[in-house]
């Protein structure tokens, strides 16, 4: 198995709160890797540090054998890591199609001069971006809303749109932050199929999720965070039996003493 991403001793502190301490984990190419833990365990913070939204206090990420730049989101995306947000963050005034097209920004390079003169390269690139975006909407199953404004989509469709937008950046690693949150049973099943399809197309998935059934059904391996520490990392069946994990969940998050 080839290693895609290695987190080495990642630490992140907010004032007096150690949100992440010494977190190390390894994600292999082609797997679905789950990241679970009680509320406030530091899962989203891990995403933020990984994608460059925050700079870690210590440690580094190695992606495809090279150290990722810290605190530079656009460079991280260029390397091939895309993410979605726990609380959906779409470009509200743009159409669904345009949201996905915006996601393709980093893979295009038309200059202002090219745009002004509408040279061949620019026109061709624009056409390809539009077509690709439409294909991605189809891929996640919301192409019938292509021209609808993003803010008018239903909650489940907004989640799918966010995934399509992330896929438009052509990632090798797709990081999903609680994609099933707020979805009903049918939508969750559809989401599960979608993630399996994404994995089938060769994209590695890093998944934060509270829905235990979804995590256990989808993930090849799971890491458990509690109070910013990794307390377990194993195949789902083993993690479910792990004493420390059961303790963390029964302990009720913050009340649990360390």
């Amino acid at each position: 198995m080839i290693t895609l991403l290695e987190a080495r001793n990642i630490g992140k502190r907010f004032g007096g709160l150690q949100a992440l301490s010494d977190v190390s984990l390894t994600i292999r190419k082609g797997e679905v890797y789950g990241l679970i833990g009680p509320n406030g365990a530091g899962k989203t913070t891990f995403f933020n540090v990984l994608t460059g939204a925050y700079t870690p206090d210590g440690g580094e990420f190695v992606f495809n054998g090279a150290v990722l730049p810290s605190g530079k989101p656009h460079l991280v995306v260029a390397q091939g890591i895309a993410r979605t947000f726990q609380n959906i963050r779409l470009f509200r005034e743009l159409s669904a199609l345009e949201n996905v097209m915006a996601g393709h920004h980093i893979r295009t390079n038309a200059s202002v001069w090219g745009i002004l003169t509408q040279n061949r390269h620019t026109v061709e690139e624009e056409r390809l971006t539009t077509e690709r975006a439409y294909e991605l909407l189809k891929y996640v199953g919301i192409e019938r809303f292509a021209t609808a404004t993003a803010k008018n989509l239903s909650y489940g469709d907004q989640r799918r749109l966010e995934i399509a937008r992330a896929l438009a950046t052509e990632p090798q690693l797709l990081a999903l932050d609680e994609p099933a949150a707020g979805m009903n049973a049918t939508e969750t099943v559809q989401l599960k199929n979608l993630i399996e399809q994404i994995r089938g197309d060769g994209i590695t998935v890093l998944l934060i999720e509270h829905d235990v059934k979804l995590v256990m059904g989808l993930c090849d391996r799971v890491a458990v965070l509690d109070f910013g520490r990794k307390i377990a990392e194993d195949v789902p069946a083993e993690v479910q039996k792990n004493e420390a994990v059961i303790g963390a969940y029964l302990g009720g998050g913050h009340k649990h003493a360390h």
């Binding site: 895309a82 005034e93 992330a166």
Partner: protein, 366 residues
């Protein structure tokens, strides 16, 4: 252009083709109609076109990229003073407009980047305050750079700017057709400015439907998410500031050469606010809004100005309210009414950032 045609009340939705021709007819015929009321009104139209250019540029920054800029008029000043330095008896330099325009555009763009760098991390109110300060600093510089060396000639301003000459053809001179019949220079300026406006509309529409336009819109709607899909927000902000400033600079040159003199008082904070009002009044984030806002809010005060003095004379026997005060009153009234009745402007943004025609084969329509 399409946006503008669609914005025509009633006709726009029913018959966009006819609406388009109507817009073109108005644009071409307006000065002829205005001439019937006197030359002053053609002048008003010339200024309206300059304001359209300014509003289009500011809309790029505020409407598309979401960066609230209250010092926009500074770039207008940079353009106007560039023209004054490079084409007037002040330094006795007389460069042709084809050199002055690109130079002024470069200077303004540089000024835009100079403003952009320190404010990269600021948003909303904070950004507004700093840009406001920037605008005032530029004006104060123009006001005071006459000592120890006289560069700007201080508050008196610079006179006798060279008129625009296109291929040796002086726009400030009337064209004599027969003994009595002449094409007034105000018309020449009008059509020249109109050409500039049309060029700008084409450029901006192209920018809007491009990776740059979408990146700006993304940044405006959610900066964090824009970063998360790989948009380099720093570069995109600087690009917005510098392109917006370029528009300001170019219209500044046109303003200076058209008016024939420049002085710091033309570039006060009130002018920045006036242009911003035009953008907000018309509808932020779409080209048609900026244009309609600029036309209404630049022409209306002039009409008022011409009515105010005689009406007040007739009513009270003397002038109570100065026309300039009335202009500000009108602008504030426009803003208040707008907020109460149509918070998203006269023509609410319905901007397109993609060409659906590329998906025709797939059966996608608007």
């Amino acid at each position: 252009m399409n946006e503008l045609a669609l914005a025509v009340p009633w006709l726009g939705k029913r018959n966009p083709q006819a609406a388009r021709w109507l817009v073109i007819a108005i644009a071409i015929g307006a000065p002829l109609v205005a001439m019937m009321f006197g030359r002053t009104w053609v002048r008003v139209l010339d200024f309206a076109l300059l304001y359209i250019l300014l509003a289009l540029g500011l809309n790029l920054v505020v409407g598309f990229a979401g960066l609230l800029d209250l010092g926009y008029i500074a770039f207008y000043a940079v353009g106007a003073y560039t023209a004054a330095f490079l084409a007037s008896p002040h330094f006795d330099v007389h460069l042709p407009i084809w050199i002055v325009l690109p130079l002024a555009a470069c200077f303004a763009a540089t000024a835009g980047i100079m403003l952009g760098f320190p404010v990269l991390r600021l948003r909303g109110d904070y950004l507004a305050i700093v840009t406001l300060g920037f605008g005032e600093i530029v004006r104060i510089f123009m006001n005071n750079l006459n000592y120890p060396i006289n560069i700007t000639n201080g508050p008196q301003g610079i006179n006798a700017l060279d008129p625009i000459a296109l291929f040796g053809w002086d726009l400030s001179r009337n064209i004599q057709i027969t003994e009595e019949l002449a094409v007034n220079s105000l018309f020449l300026y009008y059509y020249f400015f109109l050409a500039c406006v049309v060029g700008s509309i084409i450029f901006i529409s192209r920018l809007q439907i491009s990776r740059v336009g979408r990146a700006w819109a993304a940044m405006r709607d959610d900066e964090l998410a824009a970063k998360a899909i790989g948009i380099n927000t720093r570069n995109m902000k600087l690009l917005a500031f510098s392109l917006g400033a370029t528009f300001g600079g170019v219209s500044g040159v046109l303003f200076g050469t058209f008016q024939g003199f420049v002085s710091p008082e033309s570039f006060s904070l009130m002018e920045s606010i006036a242009v911003l009002t035009m953008v907000v009044f018309g509808g932020m984030g779409n080209v048609a809004g900026a244009i309609v806002g600029a036309i209404i809010l630049s022409a209306l005060p002039e009409i008022l100005r011409h009515l105010a003095v005689p009406v007040q004379q007739a009513l009270f026997g003397h002038v109570l309210l100065d026309p300039e005060v009335l202009r500000m009153l009108l602008l504030s009234l426009a803003m208040i009414l707008m907020m109460l009745l149509r918070p998203s402007g006269l023509i609410p943004a319905n901007a397109k950032y993609s060409h659906i025609r590329y998906l025709k084969a797939k059966g996608v329509t608007e």
